[in-house]
Amino acid sequence: MLHQVNTARTGLSGINKRSIPQGQVAVHPDKSLTVTASNGRNFNLRPNGTLASFSAHGQNATFRADGRLASVHTSTMDIAHGTHGQRTVISERPDHSRLVSTGAHSGYMQHSVSYHGRTVIQRTYVSGGRSFSHVYSGYRYHGRYFDNYLPFYYYDPMFYGWAYYPWGAPIGYRWGWGGSPWFAFYAGFFSPWEEYPSGAYWLTDYFLGQTLAGGYQMENQAGSGQPGYGYAGDDAVPAGSDEAYAPAETPITPEIKQMIAEEVQQQLAYENAAASKPDQAPELDGLPQVLTPNHLFVVDQSLNVTTADGQQCALSVGNVIKLVAAPPETATTADLVVVSSRKADCPAGVIVTVPLESLQEMQNNFRAQLDSGLQTLHAQQGQGGLPGAPQSAIAPPPRPVDMPPADNENVQSLLDAQQVQADQAETGVTQSAFADAKPQ
């Protein structure tokens, strides 16, 4: 049986071309195979002979049907690959801080900080050669712990109102994105409006623009040390695949943006409520507020998910997903339908299951971009094409949120070291899988 499979695999490519070592073979009803080889190694093969996963000695690796690595799990590290070459690496450090790489030169370190009598979560990000901090407050929901973004500033209610309600007239606004590589990269997938009737609409394009620019940066530093596993741009998915691929992109249409703009407007109301009651912020501006049917989330980092019919697929930055129904009280995941995605991502229309923690991260990114956009609106109202805000909205100065001082640890060097360790982990898992296999 295994000889037959290995003969068939010679016609495949990459890791799928390599012989599966001899061992005990179990055939499952769907014609997939499990091979238990020497030294505690387990291989799961799809019905078409491609390698789905490998595990041994606490290590686990999953592979896409085309042979690319999808994920690696070791005792110290979790690695996830997106369909466009992005790699996310998460590891826990001995001091319980967490290190997350989102690209070769971007990511963050997170740890808890006691400051002025309260405990907050501080993340020190490195991106585009610069370093900055975000702070989060913790809350418990559905029996789990979540980090809720804390804005840098709270504003007078009138300022939130100015951004919330329609302006005196629609404004034309030039973003100056024309020369940006990310903007050209996402041409056809995202385009800004020409006119903005309110701050909520302007903030929508600000949010999408900033998120996509970040996604472009992650994808373009995806030197993940996985030669041969880069995205091939292949339209064809091997027969018998357990993966779902979008054959073409489904752009973020004006109708989708309109819905996001309505959510921006609603979020402005939440932010205003939280500004007046900072102690209740997670309750007023956090994830639980937006877990309502049809709420849209914009993906902030690549994510491997499972569809309703059990297929694997990947979400990438800028994909838009819509909550099908509010998750039940005991749920740790939610079902969302993909409404906008790029080629090779989860196809539009499929329902995917997403952990609540990932939705919290998307909500955090959404609120962080709104926070940044509100700072821009406040600083630049009346200039550069933005309408002037009434004095009642801008005269009261923004109130800075009390935050711990920036962490001075060299996060970039920690991320660099983590990248090396991730490369070693990925090479190691492949080597241990095929240690005694004959080269083809």
Partner: protein, 192 residues
């Protein structure tokens, strides 16, 4: 460690709030505009522009070099003036004649979003500048009756000028146009 669960690691179990249902939140208050609404402002501009009606004035020009004097008779009748708040645009029909000869007879329109600034000046000042640009810096014009110009300046040296016989009205219309430009998101894009 599982990638789906790692983000849920409890870093501060003892202090976290426990949340459950959604909270009802009212919308933020709507700030009152500092000035009149755009609709009211545009209506004011349109009415004042239109009520100027037909204008006749003479321009007496004295050449300070050879001492000669020239007289030109001007007439103008702007019509179909529309200040549209929905599009932040101004459009009108411009008809200006000099000594009976048509200088301009056509429809004009521009966006307030493109207006960088507005100025009010005696018509002589603008005419003197025009003479100098034509190579006659020694010509001194005088308008009879005195006229005032509201000039909306756009990028690329594109200007739209509006004659007023009443200086106070010229200033009021210019002020309204400045307010409309602000509400429309126009104005000088250069912060310095």
């Amino acid at each position: 460690m599982n990638i789906k669960n790692v983000l849920a690691t409890c870093l501060f179990c003892g202090i976290a709030l426990t949340l459950s249902a959604q909270q009802s939140v009212p919308p933020p208050p709507k700030p009152a505009a500092d000035g009149p609404s755009l609709a009211a402002t545009m209506q004011f501009i349109q009415a004042r522009m239109q009520e100027r009606g037909k204008m006749n004035f003479a321009v007496y020009t004295h050449d300070n070099v050879d001492g000669k004097d020239y007289i030109d008779q001007y007439s103008g009748e702007p019509s179909n003036f529309v200040a549209d708040p929905a599009t932040c645009s101004i459009s009108y029909h411009r008809d200006l004649r000099k000594n009976g000869t048509v200088l301009s007879d056509g429809n004009v329109s521009f966006s307030l979003r493109e207006v960088q600034n507005l100025v009010v000046m005696p018509a002589e000042q603008d005419m003197k500048r025009a003479y100098a640009a034509l190579g006659h810096p020694t010509w001194d014009p005088r308008f009879d009756p005195p006229m005032f110009l509201v000039i909306a300046r756009r990028a690329g040296n594109q200007n739209n000028g509006f004659y007023f016989a009443d200086e106070e009205m010229a200033n009021r219309v210019a002020k309204a146009m400045v307010h409309a430009v602000e509400l429309c998101g126009g104005g000088n894009k250069d912060p310095f």
